[in-house]
Subunit: 494 residues, 2 copies
Amino acid sequence: MDNNREEQHEEGRRKQPTREEWARNFSEWFDKILDEAEIVDFRYPLKGAGVWRPFGFKIRKYTYEILRALHDQTGHEETLFPLLIPEGEFLKEAQHIRGFEEQVYWVTRGGSDELEVPLVLRPTSETSIYPMYNLWVRSHADLPLKLYQVVSTFRYETRHTRPLLRVRELTSFKEAHTVHASFEELEQQVQEAVGIYANFFDELGVPYLITRRPEWDKFAGAEYSIAFDTILPDGRTLQIGTVHNLGTNFAKAFDIKFETVNGQSEYVYQSCYGISERCIAASLIVHGDDHGLVLPPKVAPIQVIFIPILFAGLEQAINETTDKLMNELKHENIRVAVDRSEKTPGAKFYWWEKRGVPVRVEIGPKDLENYTVTLVRRDTLFREIVPQTEATTRITDLLVRLAQNIKQREAEFLQSRIHRVETLEDARKVIEQRIGVVEVPWCGLEECGLSLEEELTGSVLGTPEDLQRPQEVEGVCFACDKRATTIMRFARTY
Amino acid sequence: MDNNREEQHEEGRRKQPTREEWARNFSEWFDKILDEAEIVDFRYPLKGAGVWRPFGFKIRKYTYEILRALHDQTGHEETLFPLLIPEGEFLKEAQHIRGFEEQVYWVTRGGSDELEVPLVLRPTSETSIYPMYNLWVRSHADLPLKLYQVVSTFRYETRHTRPLLRVRELTSFKEAHTVHASFEELEQQVQEAVGIYANFFDELGVPYLITRRPEWDKFAGAEYSIAFDTILPDGRTLQIGTVHNLGTNFAKAFDIKFETVNGQSEYVYQSCYGISERCIAASLIVHGDDHGLVLPPKVAPIQVIFIPILFAGLEQAINETTDKLMNELKHENIRVAVDRSEKTPGAKFYWWEKRGVPVRVEIGPKDLENYTVTLVRRDTLFREIVPQTEATTRITDLLVRLAQNIKQREAEFLQSRIHRVETLEDARKVIEQRIGVVEVPWCGLEECGLSLEEELTGSVLGTPEDLQRPQEVEGVCFACDKRATTIMRFARTY
């Protein structure tokens, strides 16, 4: 309870109006912070392709370590499949082709030879992986098969590209591909995948909506698709993860069969699920503020930055205290660094706040005199003075509380941006005013869904998978006035 | 000394003749073991592209963790650059183009559009990275810049492809690219890189020769190239790493300049160095034997495999002892697993020996009675019985000694395959009989080098960088009979 009161107290110090203002211009803010904090550089001479710089690469590394661990703990194994897909394999699943054919890059030449078989740069790896599943899966004893990889995928993107949000080379596509002996097992796997993704975004403190995409917006080749979306500060949603039940569609296209316990030959059941670098973009955006990034401690390349405030005659004592405390933290496996550059303390504060380092430790002459250090937490910028003897405990604790606080803060923001409305008019207002997601009653018919999408000038997200009983909705479909059977979510999307 | 005697004793138990026989057919052995131990699968429908399976992927992961750590410890930072290179960038350095133009894949189409600017799949990343160095490097304060990445690169390979040895998609290319303010600093960097690679292969226990490639065989665009080669059991050499001094060649092509301390604008000095999955191939091949793989403990996915030998009535006691010892080893961060499958003990021994697990622990009824366990080390297949109370210490120690033993064994093999000869005739015999590398005196002229290459029907490796004074060679050049100034190495190569 004490902690809670402290949090609230600290919260009060945050300059809320500035955050509101910041939110309206977050798009420019994002491009600028990616550059200034040296996360990625998209000035590469191919539009929509960027470079992960060392600081950004480390954030990526720690983020994907969490994602990998969640997969490894649930019986997934990491692999690596080829990037180039021969035309014949790519063309095997009809719906899949239709979904991707306008978006793929084609390799047609090798040296000065025209290739006999053109090759596709994987836009996603179903057609690269499933020819091998055809070879590997023989019997029920080979199932379930749960593999994943983290790779670059490619989209020939003709729309306006945006760093980390809409790119031509997705550099960080984690895709899992599972194979099962029955539809029931497959359904369980889909639920496991949803659970893994929920855990992952919880770890990042990124809030999300889980929806089942409607038939007309599911993954090309899937039975159905479940998506994770977050809401960005401008009220638009960003898809940050998808889970697909593929049924036997690809099994039939790639002839993947297994011998059942009874000796019969049957098609396997498959799922796939993916997360791209948008998970990093989301984490940077939802936690950010007008001072710059606010990194969740688990993915921060530097978790604690020390700024010794040197005064003549005290340099040695201050440096020694700094080294001593840094060593204590290192011993606790906390990632620390010290800024001993020539910059002024103010310039250092500004620089490390921009880069989102969770905790700053200042050690100056007063601290030396009083055997204290000054801690500043990045989320609230709250400053406190603690005894040196307690510094390590307090910092460790602060990292935990910071992670909890930003998670809760962003969860509340998301909740405040979901609107249940009574009329089509009110629904339209939500979309037009860009204040988030609107939930409307829906009869379940595709034509009504499509007509609502047009009426609202928003995109359909789908039906909630994260509510207890979405089907117990009151009221009538906003499109046809017939009895509603579920809720449908709409929003402006990225 | 005691350890040494023990090693020799154990060595004696190794079936040496079998290893000789095995060596002659190692090429078939290699393809087979990659498949049977589930390392990679090259049945992918594009020739020269393969899949890393879970067990192989883990070997790759641990191998590259060593390589990454060696780079991180020496001030390199990891990054990730785009795969697609616009034609204009690729064509900037004239020699580089000539070296690679017949080997690159071209992307010419996106969806149904012809691309206005064709894109190259990086065959190596100089022309992808240096446009960014042009933007990032401004002043001497930005230098040195030492970045690296681990990526897929592509070669349109028209020759016969071989798993992990000659492929079209190199899945594991670690390439470092450094920038410096002076030629002296650059030379130091080249030496640092050579040191890093030497440390890396030492960690893997893979022996190597270091040679400076001759002018006519250096990297396209380099001032000079230094290469690491190992010798495979069939006497042919395999290039496993290269370090290139690029001078200012790429700086001029990509206009990378910096402001010196004196305010002048000068071209930077650059180096690059790379290692591919051939490092894994080399490690698998040089340590292997007729039983299968022998994995260096540091890269073994499973370092210790437990085989409980169950007898009726003793199952519980044996399983409990197994669990207890496994937990002790886990506590020491040793990667352990247990085989409780239905297979016979013999079948289990065979399976885990094939997969190269360094140490096997058998626990049977006799062991239970005597409070012992039976240890079998994979390199010598030597079996010893040790008290349960000492098991963890003995196993930990055994892993260290096994690593040392295979390193020393392979180093001796390599030394025995380097031949200093007196006559051209003897040199030719070395090449023809495929017994390794031949060192011959050379005058230093390119035409003599080329003529020797032809005479010997071998390829030139270059001049030694790993000998104290190669220039103090006696005798005359085998091609022109003039005074030799150095040694030149020749071999059949992969």
